[in-house]
Amino acid sequence: MGRTLAEKVWDDHVVRRAEGEPDLLYIDLHLLHEVTSPQAFDGLRANGRPVRRLDLTIATEDHNTPTLDIDKPIADPVSRAQLETLRKNCAEFGVRLHPLGDVEQGVVHVVGPQLGLTQPGTTVVCGDSHTSTHGAFGALAFGIGTSQVEHVLATQTLPMARPKTMAITVTGELAEGVTAKDLILAIIAKIGTGGGQGYVLEYRGEAIEKLSMEARMTICNMSIEAGARAGMIAPDRTTFDYLRGRDHAPVGEDWDAAVAYWETLRTDDDAVFDAEVVIDGSALTPFVTWGTNPGQGAPLSASVPDPASYEDPSERLAAEKALEYMGLTAGQPLRDIKVDTVFVGSCTNGRIEDLRAVAEVIKGRKVADGVRMLVVPGSVRVALQAVEEGLDKVFKEAGAEWRHAGCSMCLGMNPDQLAPGERSASTSNRNFEGRQGKGGRTHLVSPPVAAATAVLGHLASPADLTDATATATAGAR
C-alpha cells in the first residue's frame, strides 16, 4: 500500500524501531531560542553531556527581545538575564547564535526558512509550538517542550509515537482578497482546536498548490491551533524555486540529488489517510476571530454568534465566557467592532509578502485617530527588504510604528503589550485571554484586513475602503 507524505518522511528518520516502544526519530535541524532552552542547557551541564550535533543546531533571540532601542541595554533585568543566559550557553557549548543586533536575527520560524536550512523531507524541531511552520516545505516539523529540547541537544533524536495522518483538501481557488490566513482560520473553525490532536495534517488540493511558500508557511504555522503538532505541504516547483540559491541550500551535485529525493515526497495515489476533510476554497471570504481561542472565528461579514446556538454544553459555556471576556454581544456585526491597536507581524504573518500586502492597502491612507498600529518585521532580513522596497516609509507616512524584528506583541513577553480592556486586530496566531497583555482582547485577522481595520478603526476588509475614505481620512490629518 502507498504511503502519505508524512509517513515517508517519518520512515526515513527512524533510527530504531522496537515492539512496544515509540520510534526513535532522527532530527535534522534543531532551532533554539532564549525562552525554552535555559533549563535544557542546565540539564546537559548537570549530567556532563555535550551537544551531540552542533552542525544541526542554531539559535536566535526573538520572544523576549525589545523592538525599540535595540542598541541600548535591555531595560527589564529579567529579560536581559534570559538573553544573556542564551549567549552564555551558546558560547559554552559552541552553538551558532544570531543575537539581537545580528543581521540574521529574527523570529526563529522566519530565520530557518530564509537561511535555506528548512528543506523538504527533513525533521525540524524547536521548543516552540509554531515549529509546524516549517512543514510548508514538506518537512516534518513540530514543537517540543524543554525536556525534549535537552533530549535533542544530547542525542539528536526523539522517541516519538507515530502520529495519525489527516488530509485537508482545499478545492478551487481562493478569491481575490482572500489570503492563506483566512483559509487557515476557516479550517480551524471547521475542525476545532482539538480536531487535529494526534494527527499530522497534510494540506493539499488546487488552492494549496497555487500558494506561494510564504502563504504555505502561514497555513502550516497555525496547524497547532487546530491541535495538530505538525502540518505539511508536499514540496513542488514553488518550493524548489524558493530554496535555490539560499545560504544553506544544497549546490551542484548535492542540489540534483536533493531535488531527486524531494520529488519523491508526495503522498502516493493509493495511500490512505486516517481522516479526511474537504474545504471549498473558492467559497471563502475574509475570516476573523471573535472569541478567545482560534477556533472561535467567523466570516468578517457575519455577526457575533449566540452562545445558545451551540449544542455542545462545553462549547456553549466557552462561547459565553469568550463573549464576556471580549466584551461583545451576540448578534453584533463583526464589522462594528472597534479596535485600539493593530499588530502586523509574528511567525504567522511577519514575512515580506505580508508587509507588502499591508503596504498595498495602507499606501496613501492614514491610520484612524485613536488607533495605534505596530508593524514588526519577522526578521532583520525581512526588515531590510522592506526598507529597500520603501515599505517602511509607507507605514510611517500612514502613521504606523515601524519596529525592529521579533515576536513582539504576538505573545507580549516584551514591552509591546495591550493594556487591560484594549482591543487589537492582530495578524498573529493566538487570541487567548491575556495573550497580548493582561486583559487585552485579540481578534486574529489577515494582513489586508489588519490594514483596512487600521484605516477605518473597526474590523474591515480592503473592499470596505473606498477612494473617498482614502481622501477623507488623509485629509482629516
Binding site: L54, L56, T146, H248, F432, G439
Partner: protein
C-alpha cells in the same frame, strides 16, 4: 524524573474547556530560567478573582485537577507543567489534552489521565458537592477511583513503565548510541548543516 505509582488527594474541579497554556502560566513568567518558582503564576489572571476555585479555602492542599476538554492547548512551554507541579498538583484529569502539553507532563512525572467526559462530569459533581472527597489515581492498575466511581484509563505500556520507574529518557536513548551512529553515517550529504565542522 519523579516516579509516579499511585496518588490519592482532594480535587480542584475546573469547569472550563480549552484551558490554554497562556492561562496556565502567562508569558511574562517565561523569562525565568529555572524549573521552579512558578506556583504564583499558575492561572494568574483567574486567581485575581477571590472566588476562583483554587482560592476557595476548602480547595487548599488539593492535588488532583479535574479540567474540561482540550486542556493545555497552545504553546509548547513546559513551564505550564512546572507551574502545576510547583503549585502542588500531582495529576490532571480531562477528556482531552493537547499533544505537546501531554508529552511534557509525562516527561516530568505529572500524570495526565484521559477519561470520558461523562466520568469527568461525575467527578465534577462529586467533588463540587463534597470538597473533602478524595480521588485516587492509580497508575499501577490504570484506574481512577472515587466514591461511587471507578474508571479505567489508558496509557501505553512504555510511557507507563517510564513513569512507574521514574526513568531518565536521555539515558535510555543513549543506550542506543550504536543505532544513532549507524543512522548518522548513512545520512545523505545534501542534508543542511548550520556550521561547517
Amino acid at each position: 524524573m519523579e516516579a509516579f505509582t499511585t496518588h490519592t488527594g482532594r480535587a480542584v474541579p475546573l469547569r472550563r474547556s480549552n484551558v490554554d497554556t497562556d492561562q496556565i502560566i502567562p508569558a511574562h513568567w517565561l523569562k525565568k530560567i529555572t524549573r521552579d518558582g512558578f506556583e504564583d503564576g499558575l492561572f494568574e489572571a483567574w486567581r485575581k478573582d477571590p472566588e476562583f476555585v483554587t482560592n476557595r479555602p476548602e480547595r487548599q492542599g488539593a492535588t488532583v485537577l479535574v479540567a474540561g476538554p482540550d486542556f493545555g492547548t497552545g504553546s509548547s512551554r513546559e513551564h505550564a507543567v512546572w507551574a502545576l507541579q510547583n503549585f502542588g498538583f500531582k495529576a490532571v484529569i480531562s477528556s482531552r489534552f493537547a499533544d505537546i502539553f501531554r508529552g511534557n507532563s509525562l516527561k516530568n512525572g505529572l500524570l495526565t489521565v484521559v477519561l470520558p467526559q461523562e466520568t469527568v462530569d461525575r467527578l465534577w459533581e462529586l467533588t463540587e458537592a463534597d470538597p473533602t472527597a478524595e480521588i485516587t489515581v492509580d497508575l499501577v492498575a490504570r484506574q481512577v477511583r472515587a466514591a461511587g466511581i471507578e474508571a479505567e484509563f489508558e496509557l501505553d505500556d512504555n510511557a507507563r513503565w517510564r513513569l512507574l520507574e521514574g526513568l531518565d529518557d536521555i539515558s535510555l536513548t543513549l543506550q542506543n548510541e550504536a543505532d544513532i551512529a549507524r543512522y548518522e553515517s548513512a545520512r545523505p550529504s545534501f542534508k543542511p548543516r548550520t556550521i561547517a565542522l
